[in-house]
Symmetry: C2
Amino acid sequence: MNEFEMIQRYFLPLTMGRKEAEQLQDDAAILDIPDGHDLVISSDTLNGGTHFLKDEDPANIAHKVLRVNLSDMVAMGAQPLCYQMNLAFSHLPDDAWVKDFSAALLEDNAEFDVFCSGGDTTVAEGPLLISLTITGIVPKGQAVKRSTAQAGDLVVLSGPIGRAAVGVKILLDVLDVDNPAPFLQAAHRPIPRVAISNEICKYARAAVDVSDGLIADLGHVCQTSGVGAQLELANIPFTDETKALVEGERISYEDLLTGGDDYEIAMAVAPENFDDFSAAAAAQGVELSVIGTFVAGQALEVIDEKGAPLSFKRAGWTHF
Amino acid sequence: MNEFEMIQRYFLPLTMGRKEAEQLQDDAAILDIPDGHDLVISSDTLNGGTHFLKDEDPANIAHKVLRVNLSDMVAMGAQPLCYQMNLAFSHLPDDAWVKDFSAALLEDNAEFDVFCSGGDTTVAEGPLLISLTITGIVPKGQAVKRSTAQAGDLVVLSGPIGRAAVGVKILLDVLDVDNPAPFLQAAHRPIPRVAISNEICKYARAAVDVSDGLIADLGHVCQTSGVGAQLELANIPFTDETKALVEGERISYEDLLTGGDDYEIAMAVAPENFDDFSAAAAAQGVELSVIGTFVAGQALEVIDEKGAPLSFKRAGWTHF
């Protein structure tokens, strides 16, 4: 298999199935954007050795790189459309590697209704490097931003957090648990909440995806919106497996709240909109949790079961 | 200067000056696409050591990576809008390097009326790697493709070719000339024909940019359109400096016609449209040349001054 065959056999099929991508023999792809929409565009690069282990399963790499990009679209309330993929290999990968890598992308193309609009492959010394640039659409003027939370809004989370942080610790060999599967799954194959992009656009006043940790990412919302937030630890959703690790003192709440890679969406929602939003999300299989309230000021606090604020040592937390 | 300071000081200014890019504190940029337009999207990656010398002037690298991407938009008849930039550094570059690199991009932003919509910087072993994904717009359904040339159309070129091929030979130390400046300029800072994007969209039936060499790129047009082409060597525009090198037997016509990196636009134009197109391009300072005709069949021939076809040895030429 040479580079040309690799592209023909494994990457070209990623562009199929959508009429917008018919034109891949040209210098660029032509995309039909419906009138009355804004375009939303974002990039994320993953590097071997930094963002994934050098001998990582290619399917895991593929799912991760596409899903973290999809999550950025969801956080804007945008419907993802397509992605450009730029791959830099140190050497031509073997057939099995590319086969598994592209099969995982094809799976996600179908699951999340997106396609590859183009990209390139180059050869460069160093670890595998994958840049995705993702494009989505949102009704004009209705993209959801970080900077628009208001004091009095509810802090709403799209699902349980902390599993990916546990998964990363397992991968780094600093934690050993009896049943690692759900944690590794969360770290390798986060679930971007594409299912509720439209509902986020309709009901959320501000949103961010939890990539750097709940505290850091909600901190960005607070900082850019000029508000603070008070979270109730008891209302933050953790899975039973995650809670068991805290109870067994294998991991701390601080680790879970400051660990990244969950890709749940943290939002500001006006109280009067929550019931409709919650019902609409539930209809798409997503259970929303109210975990606190945005407040005047600039402090971001997490209150424990006894009513005392948790204290955090980690960086990213220092400017509050 | 740490990574954060580098981004704040040198990369954030690249996103300024267009209202669409105000939102860079979010997970993605929001772009206002006018109704009635298609989106055109394309990527090109440049690697240190492959696409530019490892110790290359950062301004040259910046101009090159942006301009080759701009050229892809022009070849589609699209108006470039903005670009995502993904940079992978092996180590944090020094202040002077980033200053020169970003200043060159700022210059081109102004010259070609584009802006940076986002991107990311990562650290990875290996040479500097820059992926740009460029986005443009074109009136709906009017993007210019490669596959739509017709027998009887004129083969039209947007400017002289071959200078970049000479420049690359000088850079690789396989050719030494008395006055290298115009050749190096062509290799480092090709001029993307953004000035006539709208005219290409209006008048050209098919188009391609000359990145891999006139013969190879016109070959793509012929192959995808199911036509051949007959070019007249006497009508292909070369600068006087380039012609002097051929006359001095320092370089051959084959080298000039198969060398890449010129980024002129080769087009199929219906004969009845040429005069209007030529006048409109001239009004933008671009001189068009008719260098031949698309013909029935699949042969791509270049006829010399004596009426004999030139023969080519190089690969890329074999399938004709």
